[in-house]
Each structure stands twice: as C-alpha cells, then as structure tokens.
Symmetry: C2
Subunit: 427 residues, 2 copies
C-alpha cells in the first residue's frame, strides 16, 4: 500500500461529467489499496471568469481581495469532487490550502510556499478518507490572509503535499500522455519518454515544454519527490521524472545508459530586442540590463556583436517573453540619451529551439549535429546559447517547426509511429 | 460617529453594476463618518447554480462538502465588493465567516451561531478599514469545518455581528422600502411603517411577511440589536424594528400610542391536512402529531372538530408548509391502522391571513372587526388561531387577496397613495 498524491488540472474537472470521471479514477486508486491525496485546480474557465468579474468592478483589483476571489474557484471544484467520490461510497474530505497547512509568504498573487503542516490531512488519511486539497492556494501566518501561488500553483501544491506527506509518488494528470521528445503538434514523430531526469525536465520546461511547470519540478527535485506525468484520458504509464538517485518504480532502466539527447523543445513565445550603436565602453551592457530588469522583463538569451573598430560602437541583442517586450522597449527608450545608444529594433517573429540531454556532459560533438542539421535544411541561426545540458538557437519563427523536425531526426529521436495528439493543452 | 452594520442580499449584488452601486452606498456611509461592517450574500443565483452542480455530481451531496461548496458564493461577492470599495479609494477588507469569528454548532446546512469573536474585525476597524463579511457561513471549533446557517443566514450574520460589535444599528437592505402594513403586491393601499415592535415583526414574519427573517429578528431582540430595514434603491428611511425599551434614533415616536393593529400578513405557502374519523379517545391527537413531527413537518394551526356523539369519532385539521405535506401524508398513511383513523384529505388551495398588533393586549373587540369585515365580503373562515398579539384565519386561497384588502381597510390601515412595488423579492 502506497501513498499517492494526484493533481488534476482545470481541463480535467471542467464540468460535472469530467468531475465524475476524475472521481472514478481516484476511487480506482483507492480500491487498489492506496492512500490518495488529490490537489485540484479550479474548473475549466472559472479563474478567467472570476478575473473578468474583478476587472468589471475594479480597474486594478486589490491583491488581497483578488486572492480571496480566485481561491473560491478551487473551493468549488474540490467540494464537487469530494461529493462525487462520497456518492460512490468512499469517504472523502476537501480542505482549503489553509486547512491543508500550506503556509506561504505574504506575496499575494505569487506567494511562495514556506512550510507545509498537513496535520488535518494525516488525520483524515488515518481515518481512511480520501483527501482533496485546493491547489494554487495557501495561507500566510503573519497576515492570517489567504494567498495564491501564481502560475503552476496547483502542480506546486501537489508536489509540496507529496514532499510533506512523504508520498511514494506525485501523479500530475493532464490531457497529454506524458513528456515527449518534442511537442507532437510540431514534430509528428515525437516519442513519449518513459523517464526523464529532473534536470533535463527543468531545461525542457524552461525552454518551451508545457506539460510540467518548472517550479513544481524544481520543488520535487529539491525534496526528492518522484513525479509521474500522466493522462487523465488513459490508464497507460506516462513519464517518470527522476531526481538524483531515483529509479523507475519497476526497477527497469536503472542500468540503461543515458541517451545523449532527451528531447527537443520549441518556443514561439519569445521576442528579440536589438540595441543598435551602443558605445563600446565598459559598463554599458550592465547599464542596459539594469534598465531592462527594472521594467520587469525576464531576459533569456544575450548576444553582443564584435565591436566595429571604426565606430567604437557595437550592437547588443537579447530575447525575452513577448509580453515583456513593450515595457522593456519603453524603459530603454526613456534612457536612450543616458546610455548613448542609437536605436532599438523589435523582432517578434523569432522561434527558439533547444536540444536538451544530460548526456551532453560526457559527449562531444553534440552541437555539431545540431548546426549541421539546420545548415543542410538551409535554416539560418541568429543566436546561440548553451548550458551544461542544453544548446539553444534562435531561428526565424516560420522555420521553427521544420527545424525541430530535422533536429529530432538528426539525433535519432524519431519514433516508428506518429504520436497521437489530443486537443487542448494541459495546465 | 456610529458603528453601522449593513446587510446586502443576493439581488443587491447580482452583477458587477449592482456591486458598484452597493459599494458606493457603503462608501457614502463611511464618508458620513461612520465605521461600517457589511454582511453580504452570494450574487444573485449563484447559490442555486452551485446546488445544481452539486446535484449533477452527487444525488445526495455530502453535507460537509455542500457547505464547503456553497460558502464559495459569498467568498466571491465579498471579495468583489471589497475590490470595488478599494478602487474608490477606501480601505476595505473581506473576511470569511470563519475569519470573522462566527462560531456555530456542527449542523451542516442549518448551523446555529453559538459565539461571535470578531477580533480581526475590530482590528480592521481600528485601522480604519471598511469590513466586509461573508454572510450565511460560520465555523465549528470541534470539527474545524465550515458550516452554513441555512435560510435567512445572511440576515442572522448581520445581526450577530451587530450584537458582538455593539453596533449602533443593523441595516438590512433589500429591494423593498421597509416593512409594510401589508404586502403591497396584495394590498395596493399598504403603507410603509416607520417603526414596528420586534414582537410584532416576529408575528408578521412567522405569518408570511418576507422582508426580514424571523431568526434574525429573534436574535436582534434577544441581544438588543436595533434593526433598520431599508431599500438598496432609495436613500429614504425604511422601517425601524424596535426591541423592548428601544426608541427611534431621532427620538420621535416614543410617546406615540401603539396602534392596535400594526399590519396584515398573508401567506399562500401553507397546505391543510384533515384526518377524518379519528377515534375520540385521549391521546389520539398526541399520537397523530408525533407522527407528523417525525416526518419533519412544521405544524402551524390545529383545529379539532367537536366529536359526533353517534360515531365516537372526530376530525382533526392542521396546516403546514406546502413542501412538508407529502412527507406528513406518507407518514400518517403508513400508521393509519395503529392510529385507527379513516382517511386523509389534502388541501393546498388555502390562504392564511393574520392581523398583528401589540395593542391587541389592551384592546378588546379586535377580532370582531376581522370577522365582520370578512363576513360582509362573503369570505368564509375555515380555521382560526390566535396568539397574544395576533389573530390568524384560514380562507380559500382565491379569497386571500380580497380578504387582505377589506381587513386592511377595516382596521384603518389604508394609506392615501398606492405603494410603489419593486420587481422581485428581497432575500
């Protein structure tokens, strides 16, 4: 008998029928003899509808009240899920983030978990109940106020509960079958991975893979939680995310050699800003990126051209999320004279391709394969950046899908059959 | 500077526009220099929609989970209301029933308030904030679970907060202007009362008047809370509900002689059951009403016919809420042989008219006026019951409106102009 934490996203509990389907899956797990703790998101579009209402009554809703409002979403889904399980003859109890002991800092809208004290959850489990917890929400001890965890909050709730309860596994359900070697909508020959290392998963999530939130994977790695990313719509195995020293539960694969490349991630959500004619003197780059940081933008890749000796000026390009570009451009433009650059170019037609694999550490020539594959296909590389286990390149957005396919093939990742693509995306 | 508790029902906060209108009224009260605590119901039909969802996932929803679900309704309205006030430049903080210190027993769906410890509300008031509290909900200390107060819960929350905070007044807002001498939709010449005694209000509420819930009035009388029933749609005075020793805030009216009759209440929500051929031996009535009570029915009026000497049998009639009739009939029918009665008659075409007035205690002839007015109009009286300050009669349902009009006139209650009737009913 194991203790299993399961997380179901908003699309898995979008209506009464979906809730009953999820309830059945939970009951099946209980019937198999396991203790079950479930973290659940708000139903379907509830959060967006509540946000819309908030903006109708207040242009800039007070953060404390916005959290109070949004947390009603999970309260609804968790109570309905507990009722549905109850009516199948199983004891189920729902708990808010606060009741579940999810303690956070006081940052409304993006609170960080600082402690988990699941006293009531343990009591309920000891009494044989299935436990349902509202995802995405917590409680600050100093202000005694309700908080929300921000993006990826429900995944993080699930992982944090799994850590605090020392669960055997944390199952993250979505509408895809697991983690793929590439986005199956982009690369039809993408294969589902049986397992991926947490560090690879982090790089893939940070570079465009959408199944798991980086924050949850990070929390899991730090606390030794074993994640199993699975589909709500099938009973098949998904993908295990293995932290240091963790192996597949069936013992298989632990002796397998790590593949050099685990997957190819694609990201169309970035824009590129080029600062033209920056005086080539020390401290100018620091000046520029201080301005960008103050605008709230999250800079990803940076490239500085070799200075043209004749002019004593250089160009600096960087990428950032499309949504951050406007604020960064405004901030830079306002300080143009202080910095002394000539002009700004904004390009939101780029695509980023990343090749991720822990095997890169011990294998040379990995980048050569990437560059050659792109070159043969006539795809131009605009920027390059690397980490220990990742190589990323920026190409034209229109070329990104083709680039992903040829690179996927070049690294021998192609499966025999085309992957089945479900509608929608997990959240 | 006074401390004012205000209660707004679901129809007062049905959409974003209504919420902004209520926010403005609250801000106006604050601007006038008063401390304000607001109890608010769920928006419009939210509670019904949540109940509908609950029944879609579970035929008989678990009571604990149903309370968890329904309390999300007030969580939404209170957060939106606090945001709306906040965006008008006033500090506002929302609190759940639990956060507000509304402690109840553990009866899910119909919990009773056992204590109110508004520590956080006092702190917020001391810091100059407007306080918004979720109506209808509380918290049980033993189970640590969320509870709901059942029908009239938000009114009761408001009165309980007013008592615990020693507020100067508890304003109950609805879409009618106050308490009328009769339902203006039935009696067009009904007049708004400036004041009514709590005991009269209790009799009127118990006999069909819908503006205030009996439970809230009872709580107010027991704890010396002054209620002011007002309209969300006008700034005019409503009706003050005066407990023992309380007078109108402007000092007016305290020397006025009590009117003999304060108002005429009408109720079409009752049904009549007649038990035919009951053996006329001691204990039979007790037997019958034990059976009815076990079925969960709330018996109102009871009439036992004079026994027919020849048969040694008698008939017993009683009234009860229409919704309770089916269960009572089933229960009686199941025990027919034990009790020894012959048959049952169910009549749901009745109407109850009640005349209420504290002056009845000291004036004779009050009932004669009632009976004569009905007799002149040819309206037949089927049952009669009285209390110290009330006379009720059952007539045909079709006759009820006409009966109310002639009785209203007979007691000199008619106003000079016809009352304005708003759409909908308060809740």
């Amino acid at each position: 008998m194991a203790l299993i934490v399961q997380k179901y996203g908003g699309s898995s509990v979008a209506d009464a029928e979906s809730i009953k389907r999820v309830a059945k899956r939970i009951v099946d797990t209980r019937r198999a003899g396991h203790d079950v703790v479930v973290a659940v998101s708000a139903m379907g579009d509830t959060t967006d509808e509540l946000l819309d209402l908030a903006h109708q009554v207040a242009p800039i809703p007070a953060p404390r009240e916005l959290d109070m409002l949004l947390t009603s979403g999970e309260r609804i889904s968790m109570a309905l899920l507990a009722m549905a399980i109850h009516s199948m003859g199983f004891e189920a109890r729902s708990f808010t983030g606060s009741q579940a002991g999810v303690i956070t800092d006081a940052t409304h809208g993006a609170a960080r978990i600082v402690d988990v004290t699941p006293v009531r959850l343990r009591e309920a489990l000891d009494e044989g109940a299935i436990v349902i917890v509202a995802g995405f929400q917590g409680f600050n001890r100093d202000t005694r106020d309700i908080t929300t965890l921000g993006r990826g909050g429900s995944d993080t709730t699930a992982v944090a509960l799994a850590a605090a309860l020392e669960a055997d596994v944390c199952e993250i359900y979505s509408d895809v079958d697991g983690i793929f070697t590439a986005d199956p909508r982009v690369v039809p020959k993408a294969r589902k991975l049986d397992a991926v290392s947490a560090e690879e998963m982090l790089e893939m999530a940070a570079n465009g893979a959408k199944v798991l939130y980086i924050r949850a994977v990070e929390y899991a790695r730090r606390h030794g939680v074993l994640i199993h990313a699975r589909s709500t719509f099938s009973s098949g195995e998904g993908t295990w995310v293995l932290g240091p020293g963790q192996t597949l539960p069936n013992g298989q694969g632990e002796d397998m050699e790590e593949p050099i490349v685990a997957g190819v991630a694609t990201d169309l959500g970035q824009a590129k800003i080029t600062v033209i004619g920056v005086p080539d003197v020390p401290g100018k780059a620091a000046e520029i990126f201080k301005i960008v940081a103050r605008s709230g933008a999250n800079v990803d890749m940076i490239v500085q051209n070799v200075s043209a000796a004749a002019t004593g000026r250089t160009d600096i390009s960087f990428t950032l999320p499309k949504g951050d570009a406007a604020a960064a451009l405004r901030a830079l433009d306002a300080d143009r004279d202080d910095v002394g650059f000539e002009s700004l170019i904004h390009d939101d037609q780029i695509g980023k391709l990343s090749v991720v694999g822990a095997g890169m550490r011990t294998h040379s020539g990995v980048s050569a394969t990437l560059f050659e594959a792109l070159s043969v296909s006539g795809i131009n590389i605009e920027m390059i950046s690397t980490s220990e286990i990742r190589i990323s390149v920026v190409v034209r957005g229109d070329d990104l899908a083709e680039a992903a396919r040829v690179v996927h093939t070049a690294y021998g990742l192609d499966g025999d059959i085309e992957a089945v693509v479900h509608a929608g995306t997990g959240r």
